[in-house]
């Protein structure tokens, strides 16, 4: 067993943390640059664009790396979002903590003050919350929206400005912002208000931009200098992302209230939470809409409030197809072998009876927990000629049951014997394996079937009715993936299951697409569950930054022990020295957010350099501090951005910028987890290697170890 001291002079653990975190820097914000990870030994490479996938592919064998991986996984498993924020803040705060250590601040003081500062931020940031209410009450009205707005799934609705305006769309493939970050839109002449963190020089331009004649030059200038983001969650730029909305749909927006008015349309919420990923969010929004529609027709649904049930969404990935094929449909879409296409054609247009099988459908399968005895031998009483193999016998028996109950469709959770599939196909019965849990449950509910473990258990009560089998698209032949399989759709009246078909011409991007779909889905899910969202676009982070600066200038409140851990309660000298170190430590904590914001601005190309971003943040910070209350400063800036009903000048209809939102608890938890990890590593002074792990190390590596 060996033991190593890890914080002699420089804290090795914190240094490791910040260098690990650096790798995920480009994942922050709506523009995520993909990375290739190449295995040097096997020469395999994968394309990743999320923190979780990054950490999965990195070799993090060190203790700190493991802890980081574990923390990110925990956040991902609980919320499915917020991991990039977590990773970035881990890096930013570990270097902040290191700087505190250099200044000689005692470790317990750093831990206590930082923890207190973050708790205070999490409590105060509530002022930037926006209630999400009655989203689905309004659905009947907004249902007409598909007629009002060209809102077809698979296309990006936000780009469909009126065709007769002077708006220029140079590239409408927003979905590929990542790969083609040159999507450029012109600045409209009317849209001159500067959003928060607007580049100072653009502000100037915008002010001058009142005359139409100047327009073109500015336009050219802004267009070609850098990419412009549409619906960036962080930076909303007026003019380039306006939705043309006929009056009445979102009236509350029109009211020029600086206070946060609620968010009460699903579309508005979805747009706000899309964070630049419209194609995914569109699918999610459509899925929620489908769920709501199917829930509404259920008896008694009026009394029960509708909940967005994410477990009843299923994704079917079809690599190789163009992106326009992405869509959501009620029912279950799955891939089956091409050889069954005639069978599907025959089963089409008629309700079929279904049997649901838990586990595998093979001869030798036994339910989980059944231990086969190995020492049982069967002897034959008389010499019979074995004509059929046992598998044939079994398959015949299964077929007998199926024909007895007139079943044409068998859905199996696990694997299916190939032999049986073939046999069934011959007798016009379709067997589909690897069906997910939630799909089985959905069919059990909708078709009135009961899941059974063995075919022998099937009786009339278990068989479901009214399932329809069709090809996913009518022209089925072109929907074939590389393995010679085609997509079919299984439906039943009132089924509570929505399949999102995700397509991508680039196979390597499939995983990314699926991940991004789920990220959007969970974002919407959390927002609807919590019934509140944050104002997005860096507002909360900026609030925390300015709040900590305010806090650092105040003396610690007496009796404010609640959020500061054990230190206030003790009699240790550290408690009395707290006041001396507190402002310094709080400012370093705030620096983490400063870095976060400036990284965002650089990533999204709002600022061309870190220095520029930093200056801009500093200016706003000063303004916020001067105004006395950071939250009202932010709300004011926001209302400036959002309030005006701006005339587009052509159509005469009001224009508005959709607000950008962030989810509440997952975000706060990501902060907390990041800080916890940093403080955990900070308070660790040695690493104990148990077992014989150290014997495999070379003598050089073992330098600095102590042995027991």
């Amino acid at each position: 067993m060996a033991c190593r001291v890890i914080n002699k002079r420089r804290h090795a653990g914190l240094q490791q943390l910040s260098s690990f975190a650096e790798t995920g820097r480009t994942f922050l914000g709506p523009v995520k640059l993909s990375k290739f990870i190449i295995d040097e030994e096997s020469h395999e490479s994968i394309l990743i664009s999320s923190t979780v996938r990054l950490l999965e592919s990195l070799d993090l064998t060190s203790a700190v790396g493991q802890l980081l991986h574990e923390t990110v996984q925990a956040q991902h498993n609980t919320y499915r979002t917020g991991t990039s924020t977590l990773l970035f803040l881990v890096g930013a705060w570990s270097s902040a903590v290191e700087e505190c250590l250099h200044l000689g601040v005692p470790i317990p003081v750093i831990a206590s003050v930082m923890s207190e500062g973050l708790s205070s931020c999490s409590e105060e940031v509530v002022s930037l919350q926006v209630p999400v209410s009655n989203i689905f009450d309004d659905m009947d009205n907004t249902k007409t929206f598909s007629e009002l707005e060209p809102f077809s799934v698979g296309l990006c609705p936000f780009l469909q400005g009126p065709s007769n305006t002077h708006w220029i769309q140079e590239d409408c493939d927003l979905r590929d912002v990542r790969s083609q970050p040159r999507t450029v839109f012109s600045l409209s002449a009317s849209a001159v208000k500067s959003p928060k963190f607007f580049k100072p020089q653009v502000k100037v331009e915008a002010d001058q931009n009142t005359s139409q004649t100047l327009k073109t030059s500015v336009l050219a200038d802004t267009c070609h200098r850098r990419s412009v983001l549409i619906h960036s969650r962080h930076f909303n730029r007026r003019g380039n992302n306006q939705i043309n909305k006929p009056d009445g749909v979102l009236e509350h927006h029109g009211a020029a209230t600086p206070k946060t008015s609620g968010c009460n349309s699903l579309l508005e919420l979805a747009v706000g939470l899309s964070h630049g990923d419209h194609s995914s969010m569109n699918l999610v929004e459509a899925a929620a809409r489908l769920q709501w529609q199917s829930a509404r027709v259920q008896p008694g649904s009026r009394t029960v409030p509708f909940t967005f049930d994410i477990s009843r969404i299923y994704t079917c990935c079809l690599p190789g197809l163009p992106e326009t094929f992405s869509c959501v449909c009620p029912g279950y879409i799955t891939l089956i072998s091409m050889s069954s296409s005639t069978l599907v054609r025959e089963l089409q247009n008629q309700p079929v009876r279904v049997v649901l099988i838990e586990g595998d459908l093979t001869e030798n399968y036994r339910h989980l927990g059944f231990n086969k005895s190995t020492n049982v031998r069967t002897v034959l009483d008389s010499v019979k000629l074995q004509e059929d193999t046992s598998e044939e016998l079994w398959a015949n028996h299964v077929l007998q049951v199926l024909s007895q109950f007139d079943v044409n469709l068998v859905l199996v959770q696990g694997n299916v014997s190939e032999y049986l599939v073939e046999k069934c196909r011959q007798s016009k019965r379709l067997v589909i394996g690897s069906v997910t849990d939630s799909a089985m449950q959905a069919f059990a509910e909708a078709a009135g079937a009961v899941q059974v473990a063995y075919m022998t258990q099937v009786n009339e009560g278990c068989v479901g009715r009214g399932v329809f089998v069709t090809f996913w698209r009518s022209s089925s032949l072109d929907i074939v993936d590389g393995n010679n399989r085609m997509a079919i759709l299984l439906k039943a009246e009132g089924i509570r299951l929505v399949t999102a078909v995700l397509t991508s011409p680039v196979t390597a991007q499939m995983q990314t697409k699926e991940d991004r779909f789920w990220t959007c889905a969970y974002r919407l899910f959390h927002a609807l569950k919590e019934k509140r969202v944050f104002l997005g676009g860096g507002a909360v982070e900026f609030f925390c930054l300015s709040h900590l600066h305010v806090l650092a200038e105040q003396s610690p409140k007496k009796g404010n022990h609640a959020c500061s851990g054990w230190l206030h309660n003790t009699s240790s000298w550290l408690a009395s020295s707290l006041a001396i170190y507190r402002p310094t430590v709080l400012k370093f904590l705030a620096n983490g957010w400063h870095k976060y914001l400036s990284a965002l601005m650089c990533n999204t190309a709002i600022s061309s350099s870190e220095f520029e971003a930093s200056t801009c943040i500093q200016t706003h910070l000063q303004n916020a501090m001067d105004s006395g209350s950071p939250s009202s400063y932010i709300l004011n800036e926001y209302s400036k951005l959002n309030s005006g009903i701006v005339n587009s000048g052509i159509s005469g209809k009001p224009e508005k910028i959709p607000r950008v939102y962030d989810i509440v608890t997952p975000k706060i938890e990501a902060w907390r987890r990041a800080l916890d990890l940093v403080l955990l590593v900070l308070q660790t002074d040695s690493e104990v290697i148990t077992g014989l792990g150290h014997t495999q190390k070379s003598p050089q590596e073992l330098e600095g170890y102590l042995f027991l």
């Binding site: 470790i107 020492n375 449950q441 240790s572 987890r673 955990l680 660790t684």
Partner: protein, 570 residues
């Protein structure tokens, strides 16, 4: 052809403690545990160096169980501390540090081990009788009609484990939960014999600490799909329960060695299934509403149950069996034969509960002392630490029922005890000397070593270069910044003593703990108003600390007594 190999001779080492290597490893171990001690103690990352789980901890139970020590002397030490921890849960680090320090300090005196051991025993009994006496000035009686002291005790345990990563609010929340869980395990109708129940810790990993909660009864985790399927079958009111220990999966129970020969056409599986269905029929005719099985239930039997509106839950696991049997009053059934009606039990109600993403069946027993403590924490390593801490806290509360006192924490008990012994040996050495066998000088030397051991133990609470002071009236522990100005300003700098019972407003005089100071008489009566009103005292478990003190001194004596280590090299 057999081959004989000569046996290697055993290796015999004389006076192992004098060896440089032993001293060095003992020093490393001491360094590890000392740096973990107290609320500002540093954490340790324990891992195998090959990737995989990393345990971040500062608790002796996690630390010592994972340390693999090689030398027999260290083995004696770690084993005895681990024994102590299994009995008392708390004060493991205290015991280890005390033992290491004592060995180190008494060795410096250069006296013979026999004298040292003898005097150590005397000093130990001096300590224990003082701590147990009514006159003890560092002990507070526990008033079970009020929660204050108990909450302080739990909170002290929680704050002393920084790897739990709890904020102040979370400490209050978890502290209250632990106390509630403990109270739920006390039977309502107490006779002469109280049999305490059990609190089961249910993991809610990944959830927020604030979402932790405590529920009376037992929670059985279950998938959402299963819950949807089972719950509609539930009948209102009390439910009759059958609990199975045996598997109902339909496989052949142990067929023993050899081969079972069956003739073609006979299906053993079907035979067992028939047996199961018969069993099911008996349960249905006995009006059982809820069947619980530790292992697996055959799908056909499950189906049979659901058609008869019996809720069947399988794969409960062995850990829940004992609490389930206690809470429902069932006899676990171990065979597929006829069931005696006395094996059935009952529950008041069965409902569903959802915490985070997990779904549970909540069994509400009629009257029981079983409760479930649902614990959440942000990551695995912090959760594991929190779980251990909660177990320790519940155990400490149980120990406190037996001996209803608590000791002052934060180093005050140690410094107070040191001051008491120093004074006692200085003023009344006769009580020990009358036994003969040692001189007054020897007694003075060992007593000084013993006292400085206790004082250096208290000093181990400081990890950031602060100075430790003690007052000359109560002998309590005070902490001050290292480069603090002259003693004149101390009253202004100091706020409260380590345990929090005295403040610097009183007319006190202080001196450095490490400096040699003259023995002084202690004020041993505790101010009652202070005990009653103080909300955040730092307190320690009386039983565990006393046990730790004894274990440490006895282990040190044992190690000092070793004169040979004989190793069998074969």
């Amino acid at each position: 052809m057999s081959r004989l190999e000569a046996k290697k001779p055993s290796l015999c080492k004389k006076e192992p403690l004098t060896s440089e290597r032993v001293r060095a490893t003992l020093c490393v171990l001491k360094g590890i545990v000392t740096s973990c001690y107290g609320p500002s103690g540093r954490l340790k990352q324990l891992h195998n160096g090959l990737g995989g789980y990393v345990c971040t901890t500062s608790q002796s139970s996690a630390l010592l169980s994972k340390l693999s020590v090689t030398h027999p002397i260290l083995k004696i030490l770690t084993t005895s501390v681990q024994n102590h921890v299994t009995c008392f849960s708390d004060c493991g680090l205290f015991t280890t540090i005390l033992c290491c320090n004592l060995i180190e300090h008494v060795q410096r005196t250069g006296l013979t081990p026999t004298t040292i051991i003898k005097l150590n025993k005397h000093l130990l009994s001096l300590c224990t009788s003082y701590l147990k006496s009514e006159a003890c000035g560092c002990r507070i009686p526990v008033d079970f009609s009020r929660t204050q002291i108990l909450l302080c005790l739990v909170r002290s345990i929680l704050t002393s484990k920084p790897a739990c990563m709890l904020s102040g609010k979370e400490i209050d929340h978890i502290g209250a939960l632990i106390l509630r869980a403990f109270l739920l395990t006390i039977p309502e109708n107490a006779e002469d014999h109280i049999i305490l129940g059990k609190s089961i810790i249910v993991p809610l990993k990944g959830q927020r600490v604030i979402e932790s909660t405590v529920l009376p009864g037992i929670l059985i985790e279950i998938s959402e799909v299963q819950l949807i399927r089972l719950l509609p079958a539930k009948k209102p009111g009390p439910l009759k329960v059958a609990l199975f220990r045996t598997s109902l999966s339909g496989d052949l129970s142990d067929t023993g060695e050899g081969t079972v020969v069956v003739s073609d056409g006979v299906s053993l599986e079907n035979a067992v299934l028939d047996l199961l269905i018969n069993l099911g029929k008996q349960l249905v005719s006995d009006h059982v509403d809820l069947v619980l099985c530790q292992k697996v239930i055959h799908p056909s039997l499950k189906r049979f149950f659901s058609t008869h509106r019996v809720i069947a839950i399988d794969r409960i696991g062995v850990t829940l069996m004992e609490p389930l049997s206690k809470a429902t009053g069932t006899q676990p059934i171990g065979a597929l034969g006829a069931i005696s009606p006395s094996s059935y039990g009952s529950v008041e109600d069965l409902c569903s509960a959802k915490f985070g993403s997990k779904h549970f069946f909540h069994l509400v027993p009629n009257e029981s002392t079983i409760c479930s403590l649902l614990l959440g924490n942000r990551n695995d390593t912090a959760w594991d630490e929190l779980k251990l801490t909660c177990q320790t806290a519940v155990h400490v509360l149980q120990l406190t029922i037996k001996e209803p006192w608590v000791l002052l924490g934060g180093g005050c008990t140690e410094t107070h005890l040191a001051a008491y012994i120093r004074y006692k040996i200085h003023n009344e050495p006769e009580s020990i000397l009358k036994d003969g066998g040692c001189t007054q000088t020897e007694l003075q030397l060992i007593a000084e070593a013993f006292c400085s051991t206790l004082e250096s133990l208290a000093g181990s609470l400081e990890h950031d270069g602060g100075e430790i002071l003690t007052d000359m009236k109560y002998g309590h522990f005070w902490s001050v910044q290292a480069d603090s100005p002259s003693p004149v300003n101390w009253p202004g700098l100091l706020s409260r003593c380590g345990c929090g019972i005295y403040n610097s407003q009183e007319e006190l005089s202080w001196c450095f703990l490490r400096s040699t100071h003259h023995p002084f008489a202690l004020e041993t009566c505790l101010p009652h108003e202070a005990v009653g009103s103080a909300n955040n005292l730092t307190l320690d478990c009386f039983t565990a600390k006393l046990g730790g003190l004894q274990a440490a001194v006895e282990t040190a004596n044992l190690i000092l007594d070793l004169s040979y280590v004989i190793e069998d090299k074969n």
